[in-house]
């Protein structure tokens, strides 16, 4: 029997559609600002944002840092928080899914902390860590850990029970079943968590940078608001959006490679 990779050709229409929608979006945006339908004191046109971006690459006015500094600060904070939430959240969630003791111990506390918006932690964070990097990382960590725990936990819970029975009849130990069956079958959910946690971390960046900061993309946005410069606000927002999308895309590609047999 011959098995062959079959290449499915997508209609040209579907391939170009995403580009069409993006171009149309920016064109429309440019148009409504240029024609004065929306005054440029309320919204900056894309062309203005690009100009501001080029200027901000070397000019520290009016917010005190260049684009590079802002981006670097945010990336540091977001990634430290993100990495910590994955490092703690995923193993915790996986264990909660399989070991009843861990679930019994951690679930009540987790359910209690989960509904609190990460930004509500800001005052306490200032008491505990002051206004440095640690506090912001803490907020981002709180934001990112929730989807990590939930997805890993649900992923383990969703392991096909017949697979577990199959392994048991061969005499597999609890630990073998956990590591060889539950974790691999939870992986698609865990990769979902990587995406979700990224969104949560990245969106809470602005919140975290409300903590007296002197640089960062969130800070750039709040400063832009304070000095009434919509172009700077939009620039900050677009940077957060574009970098988030790029990281999401990278995670997606890694997932496709790693989960060859599970999702294809």
């Amino acid at each position: 029997m011959a098995y062959k990779e079959v290449e499915v050709k997508q209609p040209l229409m579907l391939t170009i559609l995403p580009y069409v929608s993006i171009i149309a979006f920016f064109a429309l945006w440019e148009l409504v600002v240029q024609t004065g339908f929306i005054p440029d004191t309320l919204l900056a046109a894309p062309s203005t944002v690009v100009k501001t971006f080029i200027v901000k690459l070397h000019d520290i006015n009016p917010d005190g840092a260049t684009m590079g500094t802002h981006a670097w600060t945010s990336i540091q904070e977001a990634f430290l928080g993100y990495a910590l939430s994955l490092l703690i959240g995923i193993p915790l969630g996986l264990c909660m899914g399989w070991f009843k003791v861990v679930e019994g111990l951690c679930r009540p506390i987790f359910e209690l902390i989960r509904p609190i918006p990460p930004i509500a932690w800001i005052p306490l964070t200032v008491f505990w860590f002051g206004i440095g990097l640690t506090g912001k990382v803490f907020i981002i960590w709180i934001a990112g850990i929730v989807p990590c725990v939930i997805n890993s936990w649900v992923g383990v819970r969703m392991t096909n029970p017949t697979l577990i029975q199959m392994a048991r009849t061969y005499g597999a130990s609890d630990w073998q079943i956990f590591t060889q069956l539950c974790i691999p079958s939870a992986l698609p959910m865990v990769f979902g968590a990587l995406q979700l946690a990224l969104t949560y971390c990245w969106t809470n960046l602005v919140g975290a940078e409300l903590l007296a900061a002197d640089s960062g993309l969130g800070y750039l946005i709040t400063m832009g608001g304070r000095v009434a410069r919509p172009d700077i606000v939009v620039l900050g927002m677009i940077c957060v959006g574009v970098s988030g999308a790029i990281i999401g895309f990278v995670i997606d590609q890694v997932e496709k490679k790693l989960l060859a047999g599970i999702r294809r």
Partner: protein, 250 residues
């Protein structure tokens, strides 16, 4: 083919299972000889799956014992394989790795694992797709993978729970032949549960007919037809009718 004088491999004494007030299995006694292929038929909902779950020790029996070579059955010590109704391939392992999975748990040396996996994949025609993932092969292939994995550990007892129930007739005949072929080559002791009477007469050396709940053994039928068996041989038809009658008579 195993002879009538083969030693007893599996002995089940007074196997009883109750869920609260509901008695599902009621004092079942039987033996399986070494290298025998025994089929169990019974009406739908008579507790066939419960019966297999008790035999495989997935579920504790309320009373009674299951002895393999005179010792209480234990999945850690004995090689018990179980082929489930639905395909149980691990989607993140290739076909070859799936076939080897049972042997890996049994800590069989890597070399031997590979050799045995290759031998069995050759026998069932899986070699051509050894490096594919389960979602790239057909449903019948998936069930073949499960059967191969089960035979690969040289099981003391191989339990099969209507493994071909969901396949079409032509494929089923084909896979039944393949099963008989594997069983004869490897000499495993097999217990095959089905609700398909023709299938039971076709593959088995002996058939146990179960009653409705609370389930016990209603009759035993020896199938001493030569192989390969012919579905329209008058003796085959006779036996099939005999089993059908037993199931109809409640």
């Amino acid at each position: 083919m195993p002879t009538q004088e083969a030693p007893v491999k599996i002995r089940v004494n007074n196997l009883t299972k109750r869920f609260g007030d509901l008695t599902v299995l009621n004092g079942i006694n039987f033996t399986i000889k070494k290298g025998e292929l025994l089929a169990i038929v019974g009406p739908t909902g008579c507790g066939k799956t419960t019966f297999l779950n008790c035999l495989s020790k997935l579920m504790p029996a309320t009373e009674g014992e299951i002895l393999i070579d005179g010792e209480e059955a234990n999945p850690r010590k004995h090689n018990i394989s179980y082929v489930f109704q639905e395909p149980t391939c691990l989607p993140w392992r290739t076909v070859r790795e799936n076939v080897a999975y049972g042997m890996e748990i049994k800590r069989i040396p890597k070399r031997e694992c590979e050799e045995r996996a290759n031998q069995i994949m050759d026998l069932v025609g899986l070699s051509s797709c050894a490096d594919l993932y389960p979602n790239q092969v057909s449903a019948s292939m998936m069930q073949r993978i499960a059967v191969s994995r089960a035979f690969a550990v040289n099981p003391d007892l191989l339990l099969m729970d209507e493994p071909y129930g969901q396949l079409d007739v032509k494929l089923r005949y084909y896979l039944e032949d393949e099963l008989v072929n594997l069983w004869r080559k490897l000499g495993s002791t097999v217990l095959f549960v089905t609700h398909n009477i023709e299938e039971a007469v076709y593959v088995a050396e002996r058939i146990l007919v179960l009653t409705n709940k609370p389930t016990s053994i209603k009759a035993e039928i020896i199938v001493d037809l030569p192989r390969p068996r012919n579905l329209i041989d008058p003796r085959f038809v006779d036996l099939r009718k005999q089993v059908t009658e037993l199931i109809r008579w409640w």
